[in-house]
């Protein structure tokens, strides 16, 4: 059982670390798009795509970087009481409250799934099975949602990316949960 937990933690942390390390350089992509936007605006015709593309990159940046930020421990906690506790007590509290955090992320994920299904032209009440159907080829894509701007990009890719990011976030939080379990069993992590 312990081996399994270690395996999960190792695998999830490694995947999220790699993804986070790639997302980290998104800052330069974002910067490049914005700089191109100001150059093209000043010297040529303003580009239509820059504003929305920058927004998409920003979303990818913080959603995909989220699990890595959890690993780094940059997400602030209110340490009025927490700061004074022993490692064991911290682990006990985290063990319970991280489940609530996972619940929040699951609700986010479900909202994301139904919103992505909508952007692929599905209006029914079973978005999860619709998306699964798309993946295995039993469902047809309907009318695709586009952004109501001059550029009119499709919306589904960014929403799909957000689903992936939120799913990775859930995996990472579950890894934190397992780490607390191991800590309570007396391991040093």
């Amino acid at each position: 059982m312990r081996g399994l937990m270690h395996g999960y933690i190792g695998a999830v942390d490694a995947v999220n670390l790699r993804i986070g390390r790639i997302a980290m350089y998104g800052i330069f992509v974002l910067m490049g798009i914005l700089l191109w936007s100001s150059i093209s605006k000043t010297f040529f015709l303003p580009s239509l795509w820059t504003l929305e593309m920058a927004q998409f990159v920003m979303v990818a940046y913080y959603i995909l970087g989220g699990p890595y930020s959890i690993q780094m421990g940059t997400n602030v906690r209110m340490d009025l009481l927490y700061g004074e506790w022993s490692t064991r007590k911290k682990a006990w509290f985290d063990l319970v409250t991280v489940l609530l955090l996972i619940f929040y992320l699951c609700v986010l994920l479900y909202g994301g799934i139904s919103s992505t299904a909508y952007s692929l032209g599905y209006w029914g009440s079973e978005p999860t099975s619709f998306l699964a159907g798309i993946l295995i080829g039993t469902e047809e894509v309907g009318r695709l949602e586009r952004s109501p701007t001059a550029w009119r990009p499709y919306i589904w890719p960014i929403k799909a990316l957000m689903i992936v990011g939120m799913f990775l976030m859930i995996l990472q939080c579950f890894s934190e949960f397992l780490k607390d379990v191991l800590r309570l069993k007396g391991e040093d992590i």
Partner: protein, 442 residues
């Protein structure tokens, strides 16, 4: 259940969740989605959390956030500001308390190059602090100077706090930034005044530099003055296109980030380690902010849906019969009080959605309130037991500075800041004159 009851219940369960020490975004987000599910579960309550993410994506000025954070980290990690410190050192060292005054000047310049207080804090405590201690400056005064000075980072443009405020208050960021300029300079002036007076009364606090250290050739002195060009150039490349309307705020922030990055490269400070640290920390801090805002937006949406603001306004004005000014003062007091024990970032995004609409309902100018809000946040940043700056200071300061020193050092500066807050409240013109002048040119 009445709306006020639901609002109170949500607020108290959030506080309880925060006390458990779980990550702030988790605590806020959990309460928000549970409330949404209970209230409107069958009518779209489940996708309230995700629609906050879409709202967040479409909010354009938020793109400045990673840019300014990156700028701040490039400045602090690469230490390109150290000859800036030398400049003040040489030019101000001859005065009583001159190095402390120079440090305030340094902080103002750094504030003009980045939007958070972290960079000022890092540069102040690693470069200025050891020098000042070596020269026999009183450690409590010096610690206070750096903490107070670095907090100007969020008031002087560019300011990340004002960007967040603008999002919540739905006000233009440009005007808010301009509104922060004069109060920021006024506050710096008040700090300097305080230092001058203290050092006059008690010269031991800030001794004049020794004769040989002051004996620097004029040519060298003038050469050092060139260091002051850097912040001016960075600030100008960023602000001139923006104020003239050539680029948008977001594009300017990217130009600013590029300018900071290029100057670090040109000065040969962009080592592999500096690069790695600034890129990684930018991701960490940006994620922290974005996930908290994401959760807070969902929380705010539930509040909006409940009409809780209207209910609270009624409670104050009709049932308790308070005048708008009394409510405003009470709000600022409670804000400072909360700031002492609530995490500052959380406070920023939780309290604001509740307070800002209320201020609007009461008929106050939201640009002006933005400045009050920021000054109050500054105070909250510094007040024990839980100030962000206090922790940073403890982490960065040399070991001879104890936590007790840090706590003791801030008292006079917090009082100066409260004075500045009162001044801006009584004379709104300090904040509103500049944006009015620039945006309503005849």
């Amino acid at each position: 259940m009445s709306y006020e009851m639901i609002a109170t219940l949500m607020f108290s369960s959030m506080m309880l969740m925060l006390l458990t020490g779980q990550r702030v975004f988790g605590a806020i987000g959990f309460v928000a989605v549970v409330a949404a599910l209970v209230l409107w579960g069958d009518k779209g309550g489940y996708d309230l959390g995700f629609s906050a993410a879409m709202k967040l994506m479409k909010w354009y000025p938020l793109l400045t956030l990673p840019m300014f954070i990156f700028m701040g980290y490039v400045l602090s990690e690469s230490k390109i500001a150290d000859d800036l410190y030398k400049m003040f050192h040489v030019w101000m060292g001859g005065l009583r308390g001159g190095l402390a005054i120079g440090t305030i000047g340094l902080m103002v310049l750094i504030s003009a190059m980045n939007g958070l207080s972290v960079a000022g804090m890092a540069i102040g405590s690693t470069i200025a602090l050891p020098e000042l201690l070596k020269r026999g400056y009183d450690k409590r005064m010096v610690t206070g100077v750096i903490q107070a000075g670095s907090s100007l980072g969020i008031l002087v443009p560019p300011s990340v706090v004002l960007v967040l405020y603008a999002m919540i208050a739905r006000q233009p960021v440009g005007q808010l930034w301009l509104a922060g300029v004069l109060p920021g300079l006024m506050m710096a002036g008040l700090f300097i005044l305080y230092i001058v007076v203290r050092c006059r009364v008690n010269p031991d606090l800030g001794p004049v530099l020794s004769k040989e250290e002051r004996d620097i050739p004029r040519a060298e002195k003038l050469r050092l003055l060139r260091a002051g060009l850097l912040p001016i150039i960075i600030f100008a490349t960023m602000m001139i296109p923006f104020v003239n309307g050539w680029t948008s705020l977001v594009e300017s922030s990217a130009i600013g980030a590029l300018a900071a990055f290029v100057s670090a490269v040109v000065k040969r400070r962009m080592t592999r380690e500096v690069f790695e640290n600034s890129v990684r920390k930018t991701l960490g801090i940006t994620c922290m902010f974005m996930w908290i805002i994401l959760a807070a937006l969902a929380f705010g949406a539930v509040f909006d849906g409940l009409g809780a603001v209207k209910a609270i306004e009624n409670l104050f004005t009709e049932r308790l019969n308070l005048s708008p000014w009394m409510i405003l003062i009470l709000m600022q007091l409670s804000f400072i009080l909360m700031g002492t024990f609530l995490d500052d970032t959380a406070m920023l995004v939780i309290v604001a959605p509740l307070y800002v609409p209320l201020v609007g309902e009461l008929g106050f100018d939201l640009i002006w309130y933005g400045v009050l809000y920021t000054i109050t946040t500054q105070i909250a940043y510094m007040t024990p037991p839980f100030g962000y700056n206090l922790f940073l200071m403890r982490a960065m300061a040399p070991p001879e500075i104890t936590l007790r020193d840090i706590y003791a050092s801030i008292t006079p500066f917090v009082m100066v800041m409260v004075l500045a807050l009162v001044l801006v409240m009584v004379f709104p013109g300090i904040a509103t004159w500049l944006p009015d002048y620039v945006y309503n040119k005849p």
